[in-house]
């Protein structure tokens, strides 16, 4: 399966290599660098690159290319998904997954990679098991280790590995037993020029942070489970219960995990919480363009729209923008032509606006394409689909846990065409 792994940074240097079978020379990456040069944007490197003897499968995360070397037929998604899992694990261990973090923790990285793959086949990818095998570095532990000479490596076979609940270790103990669930919904939408919705969907996830003693068995039920159209579960969720009763029944992993991701059925009309009034125009012959943008709340169920961030890729002909925001701050990068406006909170009484002029290259014809406006926002305490958690019950343990549910709506890929 996976023969070797090379980590390549943004400037095209290989800064880590790991081989699971016989050693593959790093010159194999030349094919990757060729592809990298050809690609106009970093994300346009083809994920799968065939070379005469190998296949290179790469993913780009945090400006690092993870290039896996494959020698024979394997489902490409298998490798891609695994590489993403590696990145997630690094992030989990080091807080960030940057070149510096990986270099600083190279031994832990190596130990992790050693455990995650055996002969190129995934062995332990569950973060719970890994954390029992190799303890994540913390400042305290580093200090203790240097003094006592003890190690980061667990000495026991993780109990989870052999059990039917590989995602949870045994002997979990907390003084405060708490379980938090965040229902986070994202709106993906494309709004056309006239303000009508071309496509809008709601994708949601339930992220959980469960810190419970022992082996609790939780059930989570919804007021309106019919809203959920397509779901994917963490392996802990009992599929049969969901099929039969639309109840999430599970023994949770310890700590943070994504319990569920879902898609709200497309029959339901999606409420669009913000509207945009825009007037971006370029006059023929003059080197000036007008730029006007006004944001307003639309269907927000009375909740405030916060953390609004507007960004737009202006046409290449635009040299500079001289704009005046009614609130927040804006930046325009003359090189990348990226305009971004940090709006903050939308005040319904006084709508935020960004007005001004753009200067164009003198003598150039007016750009005929109009920029797309990408909007990000957050609405606290609201699940825009109307999904509501009914109750959370715990079985199998005797204590009373503290339970908390939080709702949030965010913009996903929310675009307004102009």
């Amino acid at each position: 399966m996976i023969h070797s792994l090379f980590l390549v940074n943004a400037s095209g240097d290989i800064f880590l290599e790991k081989h699971w079978k016989s050693v593959v020379s790093r010159s194999v990456c030349d094919y990757f660098f060729e592809a990298l040069e050809r690609a106009t944007e970093p994300e346009n490197v083809p994920p799968v690159i065939p070379t005469p003897h190998h296949y290179l499968i790469n993913v780009l995360r945090h400006r690092i290319y993870f290039v896996a070397v494959i020698q024979s037929e394997v489902p490409p998604l298998f490798v891609i998904e695994f590489l993403h899992r590696v990145v997630d694990t690094f992030q989990d261990y080091f807080g960030v997954c940057t070149e510096a973090a990986i270099k600083d923790n190279v031994v832990v990285v190596y130990e992790l990679l050693e455990e995650m793959l055996d002969n190129g086949f995934p062995l332990a990818t569950e973060s719970n098991i890994l954390k029992e095998l190799i303890k994540p570095p913390t400042i305290l532990r580093t200090v203790v280790n240097t003094i006592t000479g003890s190690t980061n490596v667990g000495e026991q076979l993780p109990t989870g590995q052999l059990s039917v609940v590989p995602w949870r270790r045994t002997g979990v103990k907390y003084t405060n037993n708490e379980a938090y669930f965040d229902v986070i919904e994202e709106i993906d939408a494309i709004i056309d020029k006239s303000g009508s919705t071309i496509t809008a969907e709601i994708q949601g996830v339930i992220d959980a942070c469960v810190k419970l003693t022992g082996m609790p068995d939780l059930t989570l039920s919804f007021m309106n489970p019919r809203l959920l159209d397509d779901v994917s579960f963490h392996p802990c969720v009992r599929f049969k219960r969901w099929e039969a009763e639309r109840i999430l029944s599970f023994i949770p992993p310890d700590g943070n995990f994504r319990l569920l991701s879902y898609h709200v059925s497309s029959q339901n009309l999606v409420a669009i919480p913000v509207y945009v009034k825009h007037n971006i125009s370029f006059r023929e012959g003059s080197s000036q363009g007008r730029f006007e943008l006004t944001l307003g709340p639309k269907q927000t169920m009375g909740k405030a729209v916060e953390s609004v961030l507007v960004s737009s890729q202006l046409p290449r002909g635009v040299l500079n923008a001289n704009l005046n925001p009614s609130q927040g701050t804006y930046t325009f990068d003359p090189v990348t032509k990226l305009l971004s406006w940090d709006v903050g909170k939308i005040n319904p009484q006084k709508l935020p606006s960004l007005k001004g002029s753009m200067s164009l290259q003198a003598g150039a014809s007016k750009p005929d394409e109009n920029p797309t406006i990408n909007i990000q926002f957050k609405i606290q305490q609201l699940a825009i689909s109307g999904l509501k958690v009914n109750r959370l019950d715990m079985y199998g343990e005797k204590y009373k846990p503290f339970k908390g549910i939080k709702y949030m709506t965010k913009a996903g890929k929310f675009q307004v065409r102009t």
Binding site: H19, V23, N44, P46, L77, I80, N119, P166, F239, T372
Partner: protein, 1162 residues
């Protein structure tokens, strides 16, 4: 390791460290530790120099590669070496960390090999792990030195800790050294039958490693794979299928027996294993089942064709045809095929994209058309994932949309393109959108395309225009609209857009040029404005090709082009020449001079291509004296009808590759790709998957059919055998797929009794046959029992020990007890049954050729007492049946009902002895109450249910030989779950044992449902001491410290001796080895029988025949060391007795005397 003399002095080393290893030291944790390291080093270097000579010198001096260039590296590595040689773990660890950091950066660290490999046996687990990392990386380069580490792993392979066993095997198999292939092979084989599933999993992982190292081991490895495929744990399943795919993917026959099991385990296998299993099962199903769309495929084709033709008549015709076809061949899906589809479906909900994709491709390739639709939703969901995932999914969706457009039509909008998508994703989405376009949605799609054309991403715009072109060719209705749209694009300010549009329009016009002369005219006008060479060339080609449709404009265009000829790009020039030639041929009057002019210009062009072309065309079209035969055909050459280009998806016909595979993605066969086989024409034999039933039948044939058909001489015997059947008749039927070998004779016996006919109606055939075997087993047992009895009778010297062991172990044993109880109630001994019994015994004895004649006669003598036994079977059946159901139920792999009766298995052994006693030594039949000392097996408490938080654990010594290790005492442990929830993962951890003691753990109990109980057997080697064995009993939540302390009597196992042998052995064990005590027998010890019972209950001994009625003798040997234990109890008048124990182990003797005394005096 001795350092090279020049470097061993500390001063230059420190100097080099300062200068060279600055970078390395940055990674060293703190300055203080470095200082410590330096201090340590100077100390250790002295130490090293002292013992120097024995260690071998590393050979870097002779290595040409590292000769001069890397000489500084030695010095740098030198301090690492010293750190490795030190005896402080922290220094070793620091050195290993730095070495691993070097490996990670791709730096060569191979010259450290000798220094590192020494630490392979280091106690510190992290050092050990890092050494493994190093070893695996460099062992291939330094094979000889790597061999030094092998013995460590071989030791590790025998470690009681499964983690160590597994990791030893893992590293051993990762070391790519050819010499150790036999060792690896042996290790894999051993690990494949390890008790721990984790070790077995590691064994499965090791198989492909060994195979890639030495492909000649393939045959042996396949055997191991076959064995592991039969494994029932989810942990192993994924890994072994992986090995199967790498080593022998063509041995599909190995899957048959495991197919259903794999299907059922699938949902619980870890996600990576799921992907591999699903892909393999897709291939399997393609070879074993019929095409579920065998009828629809015809239907589909016809309707699809009719789709665009909109020829209703034809459509109906074909549909009717297909319908009749469907009627002719009704398709019924194989239940196994259905099982696969049903069990994979939930995995569409997996969070792992690879699993979802694997299920999607399985459905695409295997499911009936009507069911494929369910995968669309899941695939659309994956589009929310990372862009690499999107890329792969879209590639596959693109292929699917060509075959099954309807599936994704509801999700059309999910493929709309956002400006933030990477270009490669945009282009794939366009592909999908184009594939999805049809009459109903084309207008929305085109509107969407229009916005794409305005995008800033020019590659994407070009692709969009091509997509419009494809929509126009595919859908007749919108061709004009598209064409108009494209023509409008011709006035676009962006040249690229215009150029691409011209190219696409050119292609479109080729389809129906007659109707579009105005467009050609329009384009002719555009030529003044368009600067993109490709577009100008395309327009010129169009005008030339269709000059007949624009007779007036064409010469004018040529005139204009002639003016600018010298300034044009090369491809435009070529097309100008081309246009001139065509016009010359069609309209020579007007264009003769122009053509001459253009050709003359071209003659002196800088580009030789153009000069060549001009010369060639001149020769061809301008008639001269020398012009050859070709000029006659000039018109045909230039104005031939060109076929319209076909605009089709690049994804067409990609589905002959298995979707989701690398080969599919690259549209080229990747190394190691396994072709997806075509559906078979006719159904392959489905019974190959009936694994357990087949084995069952084999058993029936060996045990039943011989007596039935070849040995049984009288018809009567056969009938009588049948009369036993009603005992099983109230089984709940479960239809097995195959018929048993017995079924035929069954119908014959139907009239024998009412219940028999009942059974033939309700019971399943295969089950019956199982029952039959079971009863057979029992009879076998009885058989042996009788034999033993007989032997005892005759006091022969033969040792039936193994046989008794066999009989005690056999499956019927447990039920026997209940059966025996039944004897008390049911005194329905019938002559016929006893006869059947004897017939059985005949067969039996024929099989076991030994002593057959004797046994025959003997049994006939003893007929009366024995004849009581057969009816016992009637009582046990209901319970037993339930147990067996679960064995038979192929689809059900949940643990057998934990409520299974928890009777001490050993009942037989003790009661048997006393039973035999009664039969052989005294002629009167003893009352059953005295025979069955129901309390003879004492249950001990291991864990009270209160301390165990609801989990109660009891144990007893089953007195059965522990088959995996004859030196161990079998301890039967019964778990009862008194809580309301499941208890999981019951297993043993951290045994804390006295030296020499060993434990063989029971296999882990995965789940113990609420209120259920389950019994397992473990083995403990107590080393003939009464010390307790301490260990932890772990559940998924808790650990409990428990200990098992054996009574001395359980440390022995019966030995059968003759009177003479007994005397002889006793004679050897005199003096210190003999312990004698006088005692008064208890009130209840009235007769000899009670004494025997008491003694055998106290100690696991067997009675030795004795001539005198006043004396009881017992013999046994200790389990662990096999020392004889002889017990003699001569009784005197008035309850007085003397107890003598002869045993080499005095301690055991003393303890035994105490115990037996207590037992007898009560």
């Amino acid at each position: 390791m001795r350092a090279p003399p020049a470097l061993s002095a500390s001063a230059p080393r420190n100097g080099s460290r300062d200068s060279v290893s600055g970078a390395l030291r940055r990674s060293a944790s703190s300055s203080s530790s470095t200082a410590a390291a330096a201090a340590e080093m100077s100390a250790s270097s002295a130490f090293i120099d002292e013992k120097g000579g024995s260690a071998s010198e590393p050979e870097y001096g002779h290595d040409p590669a590292s000769g001069g260039i890397f000489s500084t590296d030695y010095k740098r590595h030198d301090d690492l070496k010293e750190m490795l040689d030190s005896n402080k773990d922290s220094l070793k660890l620091e050195a290993m960390k730095r070495i691993v950091a070097m490996i990670a950066r791709g730096k060569n660290a191979s010259d450290l090999f000798p220094a590192v490999v020494k630490n392979v046996a280091c106690k510190n687990i992290e050092v050990k792990k890092l050494v493994y990392v190093y070893l695996v990386r460099y062992a291939e380069e330094q094979q000889d030195l790597a061999l030094l580490s092998i013995s460590t792993f071989q030791r590790g392979l025998k470690d009681p800790n499964q983690l160590i066993r597994a990791s030893a095997l893992r590293v051993l198999s990762s070391i790519r050294v050819t010499i150790i292939v036999p060792i690896m092979m042996l290790a894999i084989k051993e690990a494949a039958s390890d008790m721990s599933p984790y070790v077995r999993k590691t064994a499965a992982h090791a198989i492909p490693k060994l195979h890639s190292l030495d492909p000649e081991q393939k045959d042996q490895l396949i055997e191991v794979i076959e064995k592991l495929l039969a494994d029932k744990t989810t942990l192993v399943a994924g890994s072994v299928v992986m090995a199967f795919e790498e080593v022998c993917p063509d041995r599909i026959d190995l899957i048959h027996k495991n197919y259903r099991k794999l299907c059922n385990l699938l949902i619980d296998v870890e996600e990576w294993g799921q992907v591999v299993i699903i892909n393999m099962l897709t291939r399997y199903a393609r070879t074993q089942f019929l095409n579920p769309n065998i009828n629809e495929s015809l239907l589909e084709e016809s309707s699809e064709k009719a789709f665009y033709a909109s020829d209703d008549e034809e459509d109906e015709d074909k549909k009717a045809e297909a319908a009749t076809l469907a009627k002719r061949k009704p398709y019924v899906m194989d239940p196994d095929h259905r099982l696969l589809l049903r069990n994979t479906k939930p995995l569409l909900q997996s969070r792992n994209a690879a699993v979802v994709m694997a299920v999607a491709q399985l459905y695409f390739h295997l499911a009936p058309k009507a069911e494929v639709g369910i995968i669309a939703k899941a695939l659309v969901r994956l589009m929310r994932s990372h862009s690499e995932v999107q890329y792969v999914v879209l590639q596959n969706v693109a292929t699917m949309t060509i075959k099954r457009r309807g599936m994704f039509e509801p999700y059309l909008k999910s493929f709309y393109i956002r400006s933030t998508d990477p270009t490669q994703i945009k282009i794939l989405k366009l592909e999908v959108l184009t594939n999805l376009a049809n009459e109903t949605n084309i207008s929305t799609i085109l509107r969407e395309f229009q916005t794409y054309i305005k995008s800033m991403d020019k590659d994407f715009v070009a692709a969009s225009i091509q997509a419009i072109g494809r929509c126009a060719t595919n859908i007749g209705e919108v061709r004009d609209t598209c064409l108009n749209g494209l023509v409008q694009l011709l006035s676009n300010r962006d040249e690229l857009v215009v150029a691409e549009s011209v190219v696409v329009i050119k292609k479109l016009l080729q389809m129906q040029p007659e109707q579009h002369s105005d467009i050609i005219k329009h384009m002719a006008k555009l030529i003044d404005n368009i600067q993109v060479p490709m577009a100008r060339a395309s327009i010129l080609w169009l005008i030339g090709e269709y000059c007949e449709h624009v007779p007036k404009i064409a010469p004018d265009v040529l005139r204009n082009m002639a003016k600018t000829f010298t300034n044009e790009e090369d491809i435009v020039k070529l097309q100008i020449i081309n246009l001139a030639a065509k016009l010359y041929l069609t309209n020579s009057k007007q264009t003769k001079l122009l053509t001459q002019y253009v050709l003359n210009l071209a003659k002196y062009d800088q580009n030789y291509d153009i000069r060549d072309r001009a010369r060639f065309i001149r020769q061809l079209i301008v008639p001269t004296d020398k012009s050859g035969a070709l000029s006659k055909y000039a018109k045909k050459l230039f104005l031939a009808l060109k076929p319209a280009p076909v605009l089709q998806s690049t994804f067409k016909d990609r589905d002959h590759f298995q979707l989701g595979s690398l080969s599919h993605l690259l549209n080229a066969k990747a190394a190691g790709y396994q072709e997806l086989p075509d559906w078979p024409e006719s159904v392959p034999d489905p019974s190959v998957r009936n694994v357990e039933v087949i084995r069952l039948l084999e058993r029936v044939t060996t045990l039943t059919s011989i007596p039935d058909w070849s040995k049984c001489t009288s018809r009567k015997d056969r009938k009588e055998k049948k009369t036993e059947k009603p005992f099983y008749s109230d089984s709940e039927g479960e239809s097995g797929p195959t018929e048993s070998a017995d079924s035929e004779s069954d119908s014959g016996s139907g009239s024998e009794s009412a219940s028999a006919s009942d059974e033939s109606g309700s019971g399943s055939e295969s089950e019956e046959s199982r029952e039959e075997t079971e009863s057979e087993d029992e009879e076998e047992d009885e058989e042996k029992e009788k034999k033993r009895k007989k032997r005892l009778d005759k006091t022969k010297a033969k040792k039936p020990a193994e046989e008794s062991a066999e009989s005690e172990q056999s499956s019927g044993t447990e039920d026997r007890k209940r059966g025996r109880k039944a004897v008390k109630n049911q005194k329905s001994a019938s002559e016929s049954e006893s006869e059947s019994e004897s017939s059985e015994s005949e067969d039996e004895s024929e099989e076991e050729s030994e002593e057959e004649s004797e046994s025959d006669t003997d049994i006939r003598k003893k007929k009366t007492p024995i004849s009581k036994q057969p009816p016992k079977q009637s009582k046990k059946e209901s319970k037993k049946e339930r147990q067996e159901m679960s064995l038979l139920d192929l689809d059900d792999f949940e643990p057998a009902p934990a409520s299974a009766p928890v009777t001490p298995v050993n009942f037989l052994s003790s009661s048997l002895v006393s039973d035999l006693e009664g039969l052989s030594l005294t002629n009167n039949i003893l009352a059953p109450t005295t025979i069955a000392p129901s309390g003879s097996i004492k249950m001990y408490e291991l864990l009270h249910r209160i301390t165990g938080e609801g989990l109660a654990v009891e144990y007893c010594f089953s007195r059965q030989p522990f088959s995996p290790d004859p030196n161990m005492v079998a301890v039967q442990i019964q778990f009862t779950n008194n809580t309301n929830s499941e208890t999981k993962n019951l297993h043993i951890e951290e045994p804390r044992l006295q030296s020499g003691m060993r434990i063989r753990e029971f296999t882990e109990i995965d789940v113990l449902a609420a209120g259920e109980s389950v019994t397992v057997v473990m083995g403990i080697d107590f080393c003939d001491s009464t010390q307790a064995a301490n260990f932890q009993l772990c559940t998924h939540t808790r650990k409990f410290f428990v200990s098992i302390q054996p009574p001395v009597g359980e440390l022995m196992t019966p030995v059968f001796l003759t009177e003479n042998d007994f005397k002889k052995e006793q004679g050897k064990l005199m003096g210190m080895n003999e312990i004698s005590e006088k005692l008064m027998l208890g009130e209840k010890c009235v007769n000899e029988h009670v004494i025997v019972e008491r003694v055998t209950a106290t100690a696991n001994l067997s009675r030795v025949p004795c001539g005198s009625e006043k004396e009881c003798r017992f013999a046994g040997k200790t389990v662990s060391s096999g020392c004889l234990v002889l017990v003699t109890v001569p009784t005197k008048e008035g309850g007085a007795a003397q107890l003598t124990v002869n045993c080499e182990k005095m301690l055991i003797g003393t303890l035994l005397v105490k115990d037996i005394m207590q037992a007898l005096s009560q």
